[in-house]
C-alpha cells in the first residue's frame, strides 16, 4: 500500500470543500428531490438516523418526506483512504440543520425559552466518496468523477 502524497491530500481536500458546498446547497434548494439523487448511485448505502435507505431512489423517497432544511456546515474533514487509486474519500461533516421555517425570536417567557422544538439541531454526517469508473470526466482538469457510495447521518444535539 503506497503512502499518500501531498498531491493526494490536496486533491482530497479540494474535493471535500467543493462537495460539502454543493451537497448542502442542493439539499437546501427547492429542487432537492431532483438534484440531490444525482450524487448517488443505485448501490449507495444510506442510513438516516439509523434507518436504512438504498440508492438514489432511496434518497428521493427520504427527501419527499423531509421538511425543508437549512444546513450550516461548521466543521468538515476529509481523508484519502489508503489503498485505493484514485483514492476513496472519507468525509465527515458537522454543523446545524433547521427543519421547516426558522424559529421565531425566543420568547422572553422563561418557561417557553427552554423549549428546543424548532431550534436548529446538530448533525453529524459521514460520507464515503468513490470514483465512478464508468463516468467520463467531463471538465478540464478532472481526474475522476466521484459519487456517494455511503452516507450515514445522525442528529446529535
Amino acid at each position: 500500500m503506497s503512502t499518500l502524497t501531498r498531491d493526494d491530500i490536496e486533491i482530497a481536500t479540494r474535493a471535500a470543500d467543493q462537495f460539502t458546498r454543493l451537497y448542502y446547497s442542493t439539499y437546501d434548494s427547492p429542487a432537492r428531490t431532483i438534484d440531490l439523487p444525482k450524487f448517488y448511485r443505485p448501490s449507495s448505502a444510506i442510513t438516516w438516523n439509523g434507518n436504512p435507505f438504498a440508492g438514489a431512489n432511496g434518497i428521493r423517497e427520504l427527501l419527499a418526506d423531509t421538511p425543508i432544511t437549512k444546513h450550516e456546515v461548521q466543521c468538515f474533514d476529509c481523508h484519502p483512504i489508503p489503498g485505493s487509486q484514485p483514492p476513496n474519500l472519507l468525509v465527515t461533516v458537522s454543523g446545524t440543520v433547521t427543519h421547516g421555517n426558522p424559529p421565531t425570536v425566543p420568547s422572553t417567557n422563561n418557561a417557553k425559552s427552554k423549549n428546543v422544538d424548532g431550534q436548529p439541531r446538530v448533525f453529524s454526517q459521514t460520507f464515503v466518496l468513490v470514483p465512478d469508473p464508468s463516468a467520463i470526466p467531463a471538465k478540464t482538469g478532472e481526474v475522476a468523477k466521484y459519487y456517494i457510495s455511503a452516507d450515514a447521518l445522525r442528529f446529535v444535539g
Binding site: R14, A16, Q18, N49, D77, K114
Partner: protein, 584 residues
C-alpha cells in the same frame, strides 16, 4: 512578455468564442441602434446619493465648483493620456456624477439641467452595450481607455485619475441587465490596481463563468479576496486569468502557493492562467440560470420520514464492532501509545474542533449548569495534537492542511499523545453512545457518536468518530496483538457538549405546534375553525407572529400566494397603516 500575456488573455475565451468567431468591435453599432438606455436606468440608480454638482451645466459656474475643479486638475492628466478632444474640466466633474436628479416634476419635459444623471448613465450604458457580444455572452471590457465612447464622454474607467470602485460597480450593474446573461467577462489591460475596482463583480454577476483580469496591476491576494467575500463570491467561476499581474510573481517557486491560494477561493474553478486545475468532479446540479426549477413543488411536509432509530449495523456482527470499540476507547483513555498496533502502517488520522455552541444545549443551559463546563478551553484542541485541528472550514493554509493530517501509524500516535486526556464511559449507560456501521466489500465503516470527560478539567465534550477498518492481515501487528481489524482511517470531531437525548429512539418534532388546542385564546380558536385544515396551521402561525386576527391573516397570506415569508414582509410594510380591527 507583453505579447504572450496579451495573447493568453485572449485564450481564456477560446471556449466561449468557439464557433462564434472573434469579437468584433463594430458590434457596438448594432447595439447602439438597439435603443440603449431609456428611462429604465433612472429607477435603477436611485440608491446612489445625489450630489448638488449634478445640477450644474457646463456654462454654470460657482465658487465651490471652481475649487473642486482646481484640485481635480492638479492631481490628474487624464486628458493628455487620451489625446482626445479636450472637454472642459467642469464637464468632467459633472459627468463623474453617477446619481440623478430625482426632483424632476412629473409630466414636465426634462431639461438638460435636471437630466444630467440620466445622461451619464446612458453614456455608461451605451459603452457597456457596445462591448457585449450576445452570441458568445462575452462582455469585452479590455483596454477601456482606448475606447472612443469612453473618450467621447470622458467616462471614469479604471486608470483614469479620480476613478473609483463606484464607476466599475456601475458597469457591472449595467452588465447584470444584459440579456442573455453575461457568461464571460474580460477586464484585461485596464490599469486596475485595486481589488476595490472588481469587488462588485460577484454581487452583480454571481453566475459568471469566465473572467480575465490579465495585464493589470493587481498585487496582493487581498485584492482577490475582495472578489470572494461572503455573499458575493463567484461560486460558479470556471476560468480565471491573472497573468501579467504582479500578484502572480516571476518566481516559479511561488507559483504552486499562488495557485493553491487562488484555487481555494473559487470552488468551481477548472482553469487558472490557461492551465487546468487537477481535481475530482461530482454529478452536481448545474446552476439554474432560468427559473424553471421554481416549478418544482417545495416539500411542505412538517414531519420526518422516520423516527430516530437505534444504533444501526449491517453486514457485520455487533460483537466485532463492540470488541473493537471497547478495547480502542479503553486504550485511548489509559494507554494511547499501545494503539500503535491497531493502526495500519499507512493509516490516516486527524481531529477537528467544531467550536460552535450547539443551539439546543444552550437553550437547555447545559453549558452553564453542568460541572466545570465553563473551564473548558478550545485551544488544547485547536492547537494541540502535533498539528492542530483540521476543521477544513477554518484551515486556509495549505501547509497546515498537510500537517494536520497524520499519515502512518507512528505519526498517528504522536498526534493522539498530544491531545487532552479523555475518559469514555463505555462501561456506563449504553445510551450515551450511538453507532452506525456497514460493510462495503471487506472494508468496515463505523461511525460513533458519544461523549467523554476531558481531563484535567473534568467536563463533558461530545464527539463523532469515523473509522475505516479492514480485517487484520495475518502477518500484521494488529493480528499478533489480538485485534480482529486494523484501522485504515480515523477521523475525530470534538464538539461542545450536547445531551445524548438527541439520539433517543422515537418520533422527532419538527416545529413547535402553535395551533394546538387550548394554547390559543378561545376567540382565535373559534375563528381558526373556519379556516380549511391544510392552511389552518399557517394562519395560526401568522396570527401568533403578527398579532393579526384570522380574517386579516388569511387576507395577507392570500395576497402573498401563501408564501409565509412574503406575508411577514408584507405585514411589516403595511402594519403602520392598519387599523385596530385588523388585530386580535
Amino acid at each position: 512578455m507583453a505579447s504572450t500575456t496579451s495573447s493568453s488573455s485572449r485564450n481564456i475565451l477560446t471556449n466561449a468564442l468557439r464557433g462564434a468567431g472573434l469579437m468584433d468591435r463594430d458590434e457596438r453599432m448594432r447595439d447602439i441602434q438597439d435603443k440603449p438606455g431609456g428611462r429604465k436606468g433612472s429607477s435603477k440608480i436611485r440608491a446612489h446619493r445625489q450630489r448638488p454638482v449634478d445640477n450644474y451645466k457646463d456654462q454654470a459656474s460657482g465658487p465651490s465648483r471652481v475649487s473642486m475643479l482646481t484640485s481635480r486638475a492638479s492631481s490628474s492628466e487624464p486628458l493628455s493620456i487620451r489625446g482626445a478632444s479636450r472637454p472642459t474640466a467642469a464637464g468632467r466633474i459633472r459627468r463623474n456624477a453617477v446619481s440623478m436628479n430625482t426632483s424632476k416634476v412629473p409630466g414636465m419635459p426634462a431639461t438638460s439641467t435636471t437630466n444630467v444623471g440620466i445622461k451619464v448613465m446612458d453614456q455608461w450604458r451605451e459603452f457597456v452595450r457596445s462591448r457585449y457580444n450576445r452570441e458568445t455572452k462575452f462582455l469585452n471590457l479590455e483596454r477601456m481607455l482606448d475606447d472612443p465612447i469612453v473618450q467621447k464622454h470622458n467616462l471614469l474607467v479604471p486608470g483614469v485619475p479620480g476613478s473609483s470602485g463606484k464607476e466599475t460597480a456601475i458597469m457591472f450593474k449595467l452588465a447584470a441587465q444584459l440579456r442573455p446573461a453575461v457568461q464571460t467577462l474580460s477586464l484585461a489591460n485596464n490599469h486596475i490596481q485595486s481589488g476595490k475596482d472588481i469587488s462588485s463583480i460577484g454581487m452583480f454577476l454571481p453566475k459568471l463563468a469566465n473572467l480575465s483580469l490579465a495585464n493589470n496591476q493587481l498585487k496582493a491576494m487581498d485584492d482577490i479576496r475582495l472578489l470572494t467575500r461572503e455573499k458575493n463570491k463567484l461560486d460558479f467561476l470556471r476560468e480565471l486569468v491573472l497573468t501579467g499581474n504582479p500578484i502572480k510573481g516571476d518566481d516559479p517557486a511561488n507559483t504552486e502557493q499562488y495557485r493553491r491560494d487562488i484555487v481555494k477561493r473559487f470552488p468551481a474553478l477548472e482553469m487558472l492562467d490557461n492551465e487546468p486545475i487537477v481535481k475530482v468532479g461530482f454529478d452536481a446540479p448545474i446552476p439554474h440560470t432560468n427559473s424553471s426549477h421554481r416549478l418544482t413543488p417545495v416539500p411542505t411536509t412538517n414531519s420526518f420520514a422516520c423516527p430516530m432509530g437505534a444504533s444501526f449495523l449491517t453486514g457485520v456482527s455487533g460483537g466485532v464492532v463492540s470488541d473493537f470499540l471497547t478495547r480502542f476507547f479503553t486504550l485511548f483513555d489509559a494507554q494511547r501509545s499501545e494503539l500503535l498496533d491497531v493502526y495500519h502502517p499507512a493509516a490516516t488520522f486527524s481531529f477537528s474542533a467544531n467550536t460552535s455552541i450547539p443551539p439546543r444545549a444552550r437553550i437547555q443551559g447545559l453549558h452553564s449548569t453542568l460541572p466545570n463546563q465553563r473551564n473548558l478551553k478550545w485551544d488544547v484542541w485547536v492547537g494541540g495534537g502535533n498539528g492542530g485541528s483540521r476543521n477544513l472550514t477554518r484551515v486556509g493554509n495549505v501547509d497546515k492542511m498537510a500537517q494536520s493530517l497524520h499519515v502512518g501509524r507512528e505519526n498517528v500516535i504522536q498526534s493522539v499523545l498530544g491531545l487532552p486526556q479523555t475518559k469514555h464511559d463505555i462501561a456506563g449507560s449504553p445510551s450515551a453512545f450511538c453507532l452506525d456501521g456497514w460493510l462495503a466489500g471487506s472494508t468496515l465503516f463505523v461511525t460513533v457518536h458519544g461523549q467523554f470527560t476531558e481531563e484535567p478539567v473534568s467536563a463533558l465534550r461530545s464527539f463523532d468518530r469515523s473509522f475505516v477498518l479492514a480485517p487484520a492481515a495475518d502477518d500484521s501487528r494488529a493480528k499478533m496483538k489480538g485485534w480482529a481489524v486494523e484501522i485504515l482511517s480515523d477521523q475525530l470531531t470534538v464538539r461542545g457538549y450536547s445531551s445524548s437525548d438527541a439520539w433517543t429512539p422515537g418520533p422527532m418534532i419538527v416545529q413547535p405546534i402553535v395551533a394546538s388546542k387550548g394554547s390559543q385564546p378561545p376567540s382565535l380558536e373559534a375563528a381558526l375553525a373556519s379556516v380549511p385544515e391544510p392552511q389552518r396551521e399557517q394562519v395560526a402561525r401568522l396570527c401568533q407572529q403578527t398579532g393579526l386576527n384570522v380574517k386579516f391573516a388569511v387576507d395577507c397570506l392570500q395576497q402573498n400566494g401563501w408564501d409565509h415569508e412574503r406575508a411577514i414582509a408584507n405585514f411589516a410594510q403595511v402594519k403602520g397603516s392598519l387599523t385596530r380591527d385588523a388585530f386580535l
